[in-house]
Each structure stands twice: as structure tokens, then as C-alpha cells.
């Protein structure tokens, strides 16, 4: 039983471009779906608001812990913080780490999110309640993708 999520993807883009997509606050915002108030800086809070459709009412809040150029980027945050009325700040955040490695002309990117063992049970309840609307939205995303592709 693991308390972490790990994802490895190989991207057909050089490390420098992936690094920029992860750590330039505007580039990050473009793919992640968040409008950040300012650049990422190690040891500093990052604030903004989510722009991803359906989640626009949510604030973005993270603390950048590591920025090791073209190698490692990490921040802590509160995962699935989907209730704007709920104060997540007393909870121990999870750690999200991006590790980059050149593979030929491309990049191997590993994402690890760890620390779920500190999460209280009622957070899982909230996540489940939101799950249904999340799925409805996924359906819309697929429909939109198919529209765009045709």
C-alpha cells in the first residue's frame, strides 16, 4: 500500500522547454489551468486562481520548495482542495516533485506526489462528493476534444 502517486512520461521536447513549461509561471498557468499572481520563487508562496473550466471559483495556493534548473522543481500544496468554503491551511500539505532527465532529444519527466498519509478522512469524503461532477466534466472534455479534432 502506497501513500504516494508516481507518474513517468516521456515528452517529445527538450529538457529546456519542459523546464520552462513547468517553472515559468505563465507557461505553467497555460497548461495547468491557473492564473498565477507572480513568478515561482524557491521558499515562497505562490498564489493565484484556477482557470480550469468548472473550477474557476477556486484559489491556487502552493509553496515552492525546490527549483534546481532543468533538473528538479517541487512545491507543497493541498491536493484536491475543491471546496472554497473549507480552510485547508491547518492540514499538512502534500509534496509534488517534478524531476527531469534528458532522453535523446526528449525528456523523461517523473512526477511524485507524496504525503497522503497525513490527510484526514473527511477529505476523502469531500473528494467523493465532487467526483460525480468531475466525471460529468470529463465527458464534456472528451466531447470538446472530438469536436476540435474533426
Amino acid at each position: 500500500m502506497s501513500d504516494r502517486i508516481e507518474k513517468t512520461v516521456e515528452l517529445k521536447a527538450p529538457v529546456a522547454r519542459v523546464w520552462r513549461a513547468l517553472t515559468d509561471y505563465q507557461a505553467f498557468g497555460a497548461w495547468f489551468g491557473v492564473k498565477l499572481d507572480g513568478p515561482f520563487k524557491p521558499g515562497e508562496e505562490s498564489t493565484g486562481h484556477i482557470t480550469y473550466p468548472g473550477y474557476e471559483h477556486l484559489r491556487w495556493h502552493a509553496v515552492v520548495t525546490v527549483m534546481e534548473p532543468e533538473r528538479r522543481f517541487a512545491f507543497t500544496w493541498h491536493p484536491y482542495a475543491i471546496d472554497p468554503e473549507y480552510d485547508y491551511s491547518p492540514e499538512t500539505p502534500t509534496l509534488v516533485e517534478f524531476t527531469l532527465e534528458p532522453v535523446g532529444a526528449g525528456t523523461r519527466l517523473v512526477i511524485v506526489e507524496s504525503g497522503f498519509d497525513k490527510l484526514p478522512a473527511h477529505r476523502r469524503d469531500k473528494a467523493f462528493r465532487m467526483n460525480e461532477s468531475g466525471w460529468a466534466e470529463q465527458g464534456e472534455n472528451i466531447a470538446k476534444y472530438l469536436d476540435d479534432a474533426s
Partner: protein, 108 residues
């Protein structure tokens, strides 16, 4: 899960090789007595009892009386909740990574 064991306790309960082995053994479906669960391990009956209490405390084990003997059975429901939550967060990362891929691979 309201009022149920929290994720921290659940992960702590499973974060021990002996207890994980007990869960694996009981996952086969058959309820087992403390004596049988202790067989083939270096543990004393007392030590095994402590481990079983921890697993029972987070709702993963149930005690069943068979005649005069007490046996332990696995209740996988709390595990399913935990797995479902991690899957939910995991899916969000899959979606985010798809968007990242589009972003970095389609740039000129």
C-alpha cells in the same frame, strides 16, 4: 467514512511489514486464528495480538467466533475508500500531464 478511521491511521496500520503480511494472508478469504497467523513467523502470540489490534482499530479486521475459537477476517471496505481517493488524485495528474504534453510538444 464519517467517523471512520482516517487516512493517516490507515497508512500507519499498513506501513508495517508484519501487518501487511497479515492483510495479504487474509486477503485469500479464509478467517484465521491467532495461532495460525503466528505460524511461520518469528513473532510471539502477544506480539501478533498487538498487530491484529492495530488492524482491527482501523476497521480492516473483524473477529469471528468459530466454536470456542476466535478468528480474524479481512474487511477490505476501508482499503477501497483509500484506493479510490488516490485514484481520483492520480487521474487529475493524468489529465494535467496530457495538457503539459500538448503544451510542450505542439510548441513551434
Amino acid at each position: 467514512m464519517a467517523g471512520g478511521p482516517d487516512a493517516a491511521a490507515m497508512f500507519a496500520a499498513l506501513g508495517d511489514p508484519t501487518r501487511l503480511a497479515v492483510v495479504n494472508r487474509l486477503a485469500l478469504g479464509e478467517a484465521q486464528s491467532i495461532s495460525r497467523l503466528t505460524e511461520g513467523t518469528p513473532l510471539t502470540r502477544q506480539a501478533m495480538t498487538k498487530h491484529l489490534k492495530v488492524l482491527e482499530g482501523v476497521g480492516l479486521l473483524r473477529q469471528i467466533k468459530v466454536g470456542r475459537e476466535s478468528r480474524f477476517a479481512l474487511d477490505p471496505a476501508p482499503l477501497a475508500d483509500l484506493t479510490a481517493y488516490l485514484e481520483l488524485v492520480s487521474r487529475q495528474w493524468d489529465d494535467a500531464l496530457d495538457r503539459l504534453r500538448n503544451f510542450v510538444e505542439e510548441q513551434p
